[in-house]
Amino acid sequence: MVDDPDAKVGADAAHLEGCADCQARFKSIAGDASSIATLLAVPEAEVDVAKAYAQISREPRSQPALVRFPALRPVTRPAFALVAAVLVGAIAVVAFAFSGLLFKPSTVKPVPVTIADVQALSQLSEYGTVSWTKQPDLHVVTSAADAAAVAGFPAPVASGLPKGVSTTITYAAMPQAQATFTFSAAKAAAAAARHGKTAPKLPAGMDGATMTVTVGPAIGEVYGNLNAPTGTKADGSSTVNDINLPQLVLAKSAAPTATSTQVSVTTLENFILSQPGISPELSNAVKAIGDPSTTLLIPVPVQYATATTVTVQGVDGVALGDNTGVGSGVVWLKNSYVYVVAGSVKQSDAINIANNLK
C-alpha cells in the first residue's frame, strides 16, 4: 500500500482513514520504505549497449554450453536442477560402474560439479554406442494404484506437507529400463577430432568393452494442478498469479545397477578424471570416496546449489539447496531404492517430508 497506489482503495483505505493504530503503523512502514529508497538511490549508470555486447561477444566463455537448461520458467528450475543432478549422477554412476564388478550403490554422496565437468562427462557418450535392451517407457497415470501397477511397488505417500502445497498429484511411472554401452577406440578418436582435440588414450582393454546399466522401475509424483488454465491479462500475456507449475516432486526408483567387463575401476576412474575440462574439485572429491562401486554420486552444480549431508530415515542423505533461495531437495538411498524430494519449499520442509515419506 505504501508504494502501490492501486492497493490504497476500497475497504482497506477506508479503514486506514479512521484507525489511529493502523495510521501509525502505516507511517512507520512508509518511513522505512522512504529512507531505504533514499539511501539506495544512486546516479543512473550510463551504458553503451553496443560496446558492451561487442565485449562479451569476444569473451570465449559466452559461447553456449553443450548442455543447456530446457526452456522452463524460473519456478521449475530448482526441481529441474535437482532432477538433472540425479540424471548427471546416473552418468557418473555409469562411468564409474565400468569396473568389471557389479555396481550396486548403497549410499549417496555429494560431489561438486561445474558446467565444464558436465561437458567433459557428456563427451564420454561419444566414445561408443548405446543399445537399449529395454527402452525407457514413461507412463503418466492418474492414480497411485496405476503407478504402482506399472512400477511393481507402491507409490510413496507423503505427509506433513507445508501449507500451500497443492493436494493435486500427477503420477508418472516407468518400468525397468536397460541399456548397453560399447566403448569404441575409433569412435573416441572421431569424437576427439570433431572437437579439434587429440584422440584420448583409452586404457588397455577398453576398446570393445561393454557395460550394461539398469535403471528403474521408478515412480514420480508431481504436486500442483498442472492442467489448470493459465490466467491471461488483457494483452494476452499470462499472469504471475496463475503459474500452474509443480510445487513439489517426489520420486522413488530402484537404485541403478551396472555390470561391465575388461577394465578395472581404478583404470576407468583415472581415465574419466583425466578428461579435459574436469575440475580439480570434482577430481579430488571423487578420489576421496573410498569405494565408488557402492556410492551413488550426487553431483551438485557449484554455481547454482549447495549440498549438505543429512540423516534421512536413519541413513545418510544429501540435502540440496538452490542458491537463489527458492528451492531445495533431498536425495537418499535406502533398501536399494533412491528417493528424491524436491521443490519450491524450504530445506527444513523438504527434510521433514523426506523423513515422513512412507
Binding site: 549508470a45 551504458v47 555486447y53 562479451i56 554450453a65 524460473p74 533461495g325
Partner: protein, 177 residues
C-alpha cells in the same frame, strides 16, 4: 536443408535472439547491479557476467529470460557486495555521488556513512528479502519482481514490507554493535 545447414541456421537464430535480449535488458540489469554496488563500472562487470552465464546455459528465446537476468543480477551483485575487497572502492564512489555535492561536507559524510551501513546491512540479509528490495528499488514493477523471484504477485507487498523492516533492524544492529 541438410543437418549441418539446419544447425547453422539454428545457431544464427539463437545468436540473434541473444543480441536482441542483450539490447533490451542490458541497461536494466546494470541498473539493478548499480543499485546494490553504487559503482557503475562494477555494475557493468556484474551485468556482463550475468549475461555470459545466461547465454552459456539457457536459450535467449526462453520466456523466463528477463526474469532470470533480473534475479541473477540481484544475487550476483549482492554476492559481490559481501566481498570485502571492493568495499573501499565502493565507499569512495558513493562519497562522490553527483547528487550529494550540493550538501555541506558534514552532511555529505553523514549520508555516505548511512549509505555504507545500509549496504553492509543489505549484504547480511537473506537472499530473497535482499533481492526483493533491490529489484523494487531498481524500478521493477510488482509483477516483474514476482516473476524474477518466482512468487505470486500478491506476496510482493508483504515481502517488501518484511524486508524493509528486517533491513531497518539490521542497520540498527550494525550501528549498535
Amino acid at each position: 536443408m541438410n543437418v549441418q545447414a539446419r544447425r547453422m541456421s539454428a545457431s544464427r537464430t539463437d545468436d540473434d535472439a541473444f543480441e536482441a535480449l542483450f539490447t533490451s535488458e542490458y541497461a536494466r540489469v546494470v541498473r539493478i547491479a548499480n543499485r546494490v554496488l553504487a559503482d557503475s563500472h562494477e555494475a557493468e562487470d556484474v551485468a556482463q557476467e550475468v549475461f555470459i552465464d545466461f547465454h552459456r546455459l539457457h536459450s535467449a528465446t526462453a520466456d523466463y529470460a528477463p526474469a532470470w537476468l533480473h534475479r541473477a543480477a540481484a544475487h550476483a551483485s549482492l554476492n559481490r557486495l559481501r566481498g570485502a575487497r571492493r568495499r573501499q572502492k565502493r565507499e569512495l564512489a558513493q562519497a562522490l555521488e553527483e547528487g550529494d555535492k550540493t550538501l555541506d561536507p558534514q552532511k555529505q559524510a553523514e549520508l555516505a556513512e548511512d549509505r555504507r551501513r545500509l549496504r553492509e546491512a543489505l549484504g547480511r540479509l537473506s537472499p530473497k528479502p535482499a533481492a526483493v528490495l533491490v529489484l523494487r528499488a531498481s524500478g521493477l514493477s510488482y509483477a516483474e519482481v514476482a516473476q524474477a523471484l518466482g512468487v505470486g504477485i500478491g506476496q510482493i507487498g508483504t515481502l517488501l514490507r518484511r524486508a524493509e523492516e528486517t533491513l531497518r533492524k539490521e542497520v540498527t544492529r550494525g550501528t549498535s554493535s
